[in-house]
């Protein structure tokens, strides 16, 4: 029987394929609890085994290394899931191909901006709304094909649950959960029936939990996921216009190009400040490699209050936070956008509470005594969604706060328990 370790971030629909297959085959799969996206999969050890650095990745107990969710799911599956006989096997492959080429691109184009995985840079511009519209139409087409196939069949292949069902199900999962409202999915009765049946199978439930079908379409603009982003849009129309006129002639360029193009020109604003005696990198090394009982005293010993400051931040709109993973995307998204601050700043931002009842707050350290974000236009996207308070490094309360946030425990002001933390370093 197959056994091994799966590397993935939580709530990954791709990893779900492998985990559901493992449920059916009773394969012994453990998800690596220490995996951190963007760190673990960038380490040289990881890249040696999995050259693309993509997750999910699977290392079998016999040493076999596999990438690509469908391959992993196939490896972990049993006879029944892979299809009985060559006819069924070929059909299973056919549907996996369908799931990847016909379902995934359009469902991702629709879902990623909602989940905040892709930054909806310009959710209101014509190109983006057109692309979204096209994704919706494309997905409709794929669903019609599925719908007519499932009119006379209970499952996709061979009247029993196979990998074909698992893979198409997972690729549709987030669309069903967050995007396709009852009106949109109404014509696809057979797909809906099939989807709900699968979602209620014990083996599926064990991996994806209770699936609640979308009742109202989540909006990119509703500030749920990309809260920081849309606030920026509302508050800085002037700045945006300026940008737009700049790239009038290169409208085809997408957001990534735009950011890349802007990069060489901008200097690091921290360069103008005195360096001080506190060496950020040394502290970060200590924090990463040693226990908090060592690294926190180290921090206070080396900290240079003349040239560095400690700040406390709190997300202004906790009532808008819904799913925990969406809130985490919000934090990591902010970190990504602040990438150029990394060298002179450190932060631990924590999420407290659970789905639909949570708050975000954190402790920051950076060079200088002023709020660092206005220094660069690149950094101004998220900070206005937070309340900032400068902390007195001599105050014992500050020490307590730093202790709490760096060691990831305790509760927020409303008593919500620590859920998870993200480190900016």
């Amino acid at each position: 029987m197959a056994a091994g370790t799966l590397y993935t971030y939580p709530d990954n629909f791709r990893a779900a394929k492998a985990l559901i297959a493992a449920q059916y085959a009773k394969a012994n799969v453990t998800v690596d609890p220490n995996f951190v996206l963007g760190e673990s999969n960038k380490s040289s050890d990881f890249l040696k085994k999995f050259p693309s650095g993509k997750v999910p990745a699977f290392e079998a107990s016999n040493g076999l290394c596999l990438q690509d969710s469908n391959a992993i799911a196939y490896y972990l599956a049993n006879e029944q899931l892979r299809g009985k006989g060559d006819c069924d096997k070929a059909q299973v492959l056919q549907w996996i191909g369908f799931a990847e080429s016909d379902v995934l691109p359009s469902s991702c184009a629709w879902i990623f901006p909602i989940l905040g995985i892709i930054k909806p840079v310009a959710a209101n511009t014509q190109e983006v709304t057109q692309a979204l519209q096209r994704a919706k139409e494309d997905l409709k087409q794929a669903l019609s094909i599925l719908n007519s196939h499932l009119l006379t069949r209970t499952y996709l292949v061979g009247e029993r649950i196979t990998l074909a069902d698992v893979v198409v199900f997972c690729n549709l999962l987030y669309a069903y959960k967050y995007a396709m409202d009852p009106d949109y999915r109404k014509p696809f009765v057979n797909v809906n029936r099939w989807f709900v049946t699968l979602a209620n199978q014990q083996e599926f439930k064990a991996v994806v939990g209770e699936v609640e079908l979308c009742s109202k379409q989540a909006q990119v603009n509703s500030c749920q996921a990309g809260a920081g982003d849309c606030k920026k849009k509302n508050k800085q129309p002037a700045a945006k216009k300026e940008k737009e006129t700049k790239k009038e002639e290169e409208e085809e360029k997408d957001a990534a190009d735009e950011i890349l193009a802007a990069e060489p020109a901008s200097k690091n604003p921290f360069d103008s400040m005195p360096k001080g005696t506190f060496v950020m990198d040394d502290f970060k090394k200590s924090y990463s490699n040693e226990d908090e009982s060592v690294s926190i005293p180290y921090f206070w010993e080396k900290f240079d209050p003349e040239n560095y400051s400690v700040w406390y931040c709190e997300y202004k709109y906790p009532e808008e936070l819904s799913k925990v993973f969406m809130s985490c995307n919000l934090i990591t998204g902010m970190f990504q956008r602040l990438d150029k601050m990394r060298k002179q700043a450190f932060a631990s931002v924590c999420l407290f509470g659970e789905d639909n009842n949570s708050s975000i707050s954190g402790v920051w350290v950076w060079r200088g005594h002023e709020l660092a974000f206005p220094l660069s236009p690149d950094w101004q996207i998220d900070y206005e969604s937070y309340d900032w308070k400068k902390l007195d490094p001599k105050d014992p309360e500050t020490k307590k706060l730093v202790q709490q946030y760096l060691s990831w425990n305790g509760t927020d002001k409303a008593g919500r328990k620590f859920n998870q933390g993200k480190i900016f370093k």
Binding site: L151, T152, R153, T154, Y155, G158, E159, R160, V189, N192, R193, W194, V196, T197, N200, Q201
Partner: protein, 179 residues
């Protein structure tokens, strides 16, 4: 009650791998099962007793949810009161029409998984499905789909034949007429 109903019960017993004992219709037209000198009366009671004896996954006590058990009970009642009594053309089509509407939105009768209700209904509908014309099978498409899914399991089907639901049927027969 007739010998057919006794047959349904024997099928269920064989599927659950329990000893059916002696099942007859008594002078009050009531089903009566005699096994080890104990007597059980009534269609649903006998099935529930089978389930208890089988200790299989279909046992109602495995369902924590009381609603599911009630729904299974309700479908068993439907099976014996309506489906098994459908003899006339009109009543057969009434049953198929009802089931077709229900199975449009469901894969199985109760709770998204195969239960004893599906299995009993399969035995009861088997003779009726065999006699449907291809066009009727298409009219009651949702019933056909459900039936085809159930009959794929050899343990349920036992000695019953696979009923053909292939859409190519008409094309093939039409082609043969033209050769």
């Amino acid at each position: 009650m007739d010998s057919e109903t006794v047959n349904y019960l024997n099928n269920v017993a064989r599927f659950l791998k329990v000893e059916p004992g002696k099942i007859i219709t008594d002078e009050d037209y009531l089903l009566r099962r005699t096994k080890n000198n104990s007597v059980t009366k009534g269609f649903i009671n006998i099935i529930l007793q089978f389930l208890d004896e089988s200790q299989s996954e279909y046992c109602l006590k495995h369902n924590i949810n009381a609603v599911i058990n009630t729904q299974i009970w309700q479908w068993l009642e439907y099976c014996i009161v309506y489906a098994a009594q459908a003899k006339s053309h009109q009543s057969i089509h009434q049953i198929l029409k009802e089931l077709n509407a229900i199975l449009k939105l469901k894969t199985y009768l109760v709770s998204n998984k195969l239960t004893i209700a599906d299995i009993v209904l399969y035995y009861i509908l088997y003779g009726l499905m065999c006699n449907l014309t291809p066009i009727e099978k298409e009219v009651y498409l949702n019933v056909s789909r459900w039936f085809d899914n159930i009959q794929q399991d050899g343990r349920i089907r036992q000695t019953n034949k696979l009923v053909n639901f292939s859409c190519n049927y008409i094309i093939n027969s039409v082609a043969s007429l033209h050769i």
